[in-house]
Structure formats: C-alpha cells, structure tokens
Symmetry: D3
Subunit: 133 residues, 6 copies
C-alpha cells in the first residue's frame, strides 16, 4: 500500500547502488530496508541521510547499543511505527535483551509523563540547573 | 513567575517531608528540585511519581547513566525546557561527558529527522521487522 | 520581547474592535488577552478563530468547565506555555479547584506515558475496539 | 503482526495473573486488553502501570467519565491509534454519548490549532496569568 | 475497520449534503474524502471545519500549491497517516512534482532535527531575532 | 542563561572558524547565530549540520522563500521558541511579508487541528489516496 514505489537494487542507478552497497557493507548484511528504498527516489537525500546516519551511529563516546536505544526511545516518543519496528530490530542485533527493551520503555513512559507535569505545573528551572560549567 | 507556589521543606506536611527525605537520601544530596516542590501540592501524585521514578531509574539491565541519557533524549524530543535542564544536570552527575552529550544530541536530531521521513514517504514496515521473536 | 506588536483596543480598526467587544461581552470581562492582540494583525484570522472558539466552547453536551479542562490537557500535552497559563486561569474562572487541576495533570501524565508504551510495544488494536457501533 | 507476543491468562505467571484478576475485578469485565498482555512481558512494569492507572482514574474531584474524556483528548493529540480506540471504548462504557465525543474532538482540534498560533506569533504570557493564587 | 461509520451522500441530511456539494464544487471533483464523511456525524463541526479550510486554503498572499506543501509539512511532522496520504494527493493535484515533494521532505526532516538541537543545547534567542519590526 | 557557552569567533578553532566563515559567506552577512555557536562545541556536528542545511535550503524545485516558510511551519508545529524566532527572521529576509506570515500560521493552525480530527475519528485512508503513481 506504499504510495511511493520502493526502488530495488536491480532498478537502481549506479549512484543509488553505491549507497545500498555501503549500507550492506557497513551493517554486514545483504538487506536494505524499505526506508532507504523509498528515500532512493531522491538520490541526494539518500546519500546525505545515509552518510549522516553512518557518522552519527558509529562508535564514539557512546557505544552502538546505547545509540540504538536512544534512537528507539525517540521513535517511541514520536510514535513512528516504522521507526519503532526497524530500530527495535537494530537494537536487538546490537545486543538489546528483552530486559533492556522493557527498561527503555519504562524510562520513555516516565519521561513522557514528567515532561507534561513539569509543563503543566509551570515549574521554573532551578537556579543550580542554569549555571552548568 | 511560577503560577504554583513551591512547597519548601519547612512548610511541608510530614507526608510530603517523608518523600523529600527519601529523594535526598536516594540521591545523596540535600537538594530537592522545583519539580517536586510544585508537585507537592498533590501529595498522592508526589509519592506515586517519586516511587515510580525511583523504581524506573534504579540500576537494572541498564545502568543509571544510560537511563539518564534516555531521559534526556525524550525530554529534548519533547522540547521540555525544565526537563532538559534538570536531566542534563542529572546525567552529568551520573557521568555524562561533553562528548557523550554531543552524541546524544546527534542521535536525537537524526532520529527526529528520519522519523518524519519514514512517515512522509509512507514507508511500509519490512516483513522481517514484523516477525521478531 | 514579543516579536509581533500587540494591537491594543485604541489602535484597532472597527473590524478588530468588534471582535474585542464580543470577546469581552461573551466572557463578561473588560480584558482581552495577548493571544487575541497578536492575532489581530490578521483580522480575518482573528474573527475566524474567535467565532470558532466561541462556538466550540459554549455549553453543549459538555459543560464549560469540562471543556476548559480538556483544553488544558491538550495544552499541557503540547507543552504550550502561553496556553497552559491562560487556560489554567480560564479553567479556574470556570470552577476548577486545585484538586481538579491535580487530577487533570495526573491523567495527562499517565496518558502521555501509556500512549508511548502502546506505541513502543507495538500493541495491536483489540478486535472489540474496532467494531464500535 | 505484533512484534511482541501477547501474554494470555493461561500462560501467565501467578504474579501477572494477579494483575489481570485485579483489572477484571475493578472494571467489572472478563476482558483484558492487548496493552496489558504486551506489557506483561515486564511484570514489574505491568503492576506499576496498572496500580498508577487505577489510582489516577478512580473517582475523585473529577468523575470517571471526565477522566476518560481527558485521556481520549491526550491520546488524540498524540495520535496514538491504540489508545484512541481503547479509550473511545472506555469512555463510551463510562457514559460518553456521540454528542460528547464530537465536542471532545472539537475542543481537541481547536486547542491544537491555537497552541500553534500562540507559539508561532510568539505571544507573551499576560501579566495577570502569571500571578495566580 | 473504521470505528465511526462514514456518512455517504445518500444517507446524509440536507445540511450535510450542502457541505458535500460545496466541497465538490470548490474542488472541481465528484469525490468527498473519508475525513469529511466521518466528521459529518457532527454537522456543525463539518460545516465549521469546511468553511475554515476553504477560507484558509484559498489563494491569497500565498498560492494554493504553497499552502498544500505547508499542510503536508505539518502533517508529516505530526506523523498523521491519513493527512499525509490525502494532502500528498492534494498537493500533486495542485502541481507538486516528485522533486518538490522530495525537497519538502528534506526541509521537514532538517527542521525536525534542528528544532531538537536548539532545545537540547538550550540555545538562547539572539537579541536581533527578538526585535523584529 | 545558556547552559552551554556560546563559542565566539575569536575563541574558535580554525575548523570551527571555517564553518562560521562559510555560514557568513553563503548568507551574505557578518552574523553567526547562537544555534551555531552552541553546536560548535561538537565541531563534527557543526560541520555536518551546516553542510546539510546549506544543501537542503539551496534553491531547487522550490525557491528559498518557500523553503523558509516550510521551516517556519514545522518549527511552529513543534513549538520551538528559538527556531520560530530565527526562522521568522530568515523568512522575512527571504521576502516573507506580514500577509504571508499570517497565511502560514493559518495553515499551520488548521493542519494541526485536522490532523487530530483525522486521528480521533479514526478515519481510514481512502482507496484513491493509496494508489498514487
């Protein structure tokens, strides 16, 4: 039922194939998700988005699993069905256990609740939270 | 400029003081934030919320720092000023470095972007993301 | 610090004054809030918005207090500072007690949490919720 | 297509069954919704969430119907499909008529519009809305 | 699977038919979308919403295509499935090419990212952005 | 009150200065906004974000003014104070008149309302909106 066709490897231009190849190489898989196949209608956006995702998600001060958990927490907050499904899978591949998943969801639920309590009660920011080094 | 008065320890009922005491004991501090002092107008909500926060944020399958980073990611996604300020402080106390903070923000920005691309392009969930164990 | 000037009654055109007059008459007050004074830069939007608000908020199957509580719940969910402040005031004028306010916030917090849990756990809609009369 | 299995009563541990039993007893029904069956993978979250929902939704300064309408208003604002379906059903059970539903939606639509107008026009909070008792 | 029946022209009251007729006349089509057929359960909301949409979307300082692109950008930001589908169709009818669609999505993704970076980094508004004419 | 210091040109590393120089050159100004000065704490994010913004906002199938209006519409929907202020200024510089601003806001308000009505009424996507070329 997708409104936009999904661009398969066979139909893709060399420019798009190069991105698909890099996605599969970096992720050590032979699979390219529908997100990329939809975005491929705009090859420049495909490349820009993939390069940014690759850059942002690579190990740094935070390990890949932690980054996937953060991605999942944002996706659940925004209630993005596709992103929840794909990043739950990605987080599992990166090592997320069921217990970790449950704890991510518990924090997401709690934070979404207290965010609204803070706003609704019009809580002023404490002085000590303003003057961070 | 808070619409709701903040309930200081001195003015508080024994019931509210007990929660304040527990917050300070669990966190190893002599400080109670404005969020709790505003919520204290509803002692039942104060206790329920604090017990849930304490339960959710304690070490489990995820360590306290990771949980604080998740809290911060949700708060930034929701653009809750109070929560961003207080949980940036809490995450730093739990060990977040500036490099970690920057990586959290990078993931948050990226996820918020791709969440909308997935929705806007009406991307269908891949079959393999549906049949998770 | 408003970017857009606020249009006071004295400066306003007859068209805008007529809306201001109606706001004050319907609400039984001599006060017009900044929201309307900002929107007045677009007289057609001012009239359209006010007529819709007047229509939607008048007593019907739901009483005015319940409608104000709903408005406040939405505003807290969206974390709109202006709207939370103005509709807290409006709800109080319509009879909201502090106990009611606290219960509204408790429901808002809870619903914002469970909304994300339902999304994050990818919960399918129960068959019986689909076939409502 | 649920990614997470739904935990039926028969498969559930005594701990989970106790929560299911309480849900059915409090609601006077023999039905437990998919939300709870998904959350049951984390028995502690199941219990904590149910106890909080039970506590928040019980009659107080606001009656159960008003609370359900607020829940529905938040769920529609967040566009949570599961929550809209389940809380529309719950609100009907609590006495919501079609006319009430239509008025809830009208307020939700209006509030979501004016929230953005207030933000977009950068409206400053009126002095009188700041100094509430 | 709609919870609310869709009110077809044949079943509709003269009041609802008058709105349907106007929708078809203004849009030069013999088609009325499900959105209107659902909203028709509340004839007053149907009329009020249609009159507002007609008023807001008519050519003015902005042309109809630009308005449809804005509608689509908001709908993608809110991740409203129905609205994305219907306004993608409407924008195409108004002249949106695939290249335009891709650029709208690119801006939507970018803005959703930088909105969170600005919030997360707690960026203060520049003095020069405050004093607009 | 910024929690994060703003990195001025004088303090900045050659890497950061190169980005600042490019921002000023592309925009034809001697001004660098606080957003960039905060993000500069993470030079890689600064460069990646600026390159993406430059790429996305350059004239293409859509002109720069239309792109700024879309940016503003998203920012108002997300209620991001900094972004609304800075992109209102940017849109004005790109040619947005007060009448255009008012029409953008009118569409933003309307779309935010109807997005929730579509969700709340659980409107199914029309068949004809599914099968787009």
């Amino acid at each position: 039922m997708a409104t936009f066709g999904l661009l398969d490897y066979e139909q893709a231009s060399p420019e798009v194939r190069a991105v698909y190849d890099d996605i599969m190489a970096v992720r050590g898989t032979d699979f390219v998700g529908n997100f990329w196949k939809a975005l491929a209608h705009d090859p420049a956006a495909l490349r820009r988005t993939w390069e940014a995702v690759k850059d942002v998600m690579r190990p740094g001060a935070l390990d890949p699993l932690t980054k996937e958990l953060l991605y999942l927490a944002v996706s659940a907050t925004n209630q993005c069905g596709y992103c929840i499904a794909s990043h739950t899978a990605a987080a599992r591949k990166a090592g997320m256990t069921e217990a970790m998943f449950a704890e991510v969801m518990a924090v997401v639920g709690m934070a979404n609740a207290t965010n609204r309590l803070a706003a609704g009660y019009q809580v002023e920011i404490d002085e000590r939270f303003r003057n961070q080094p």
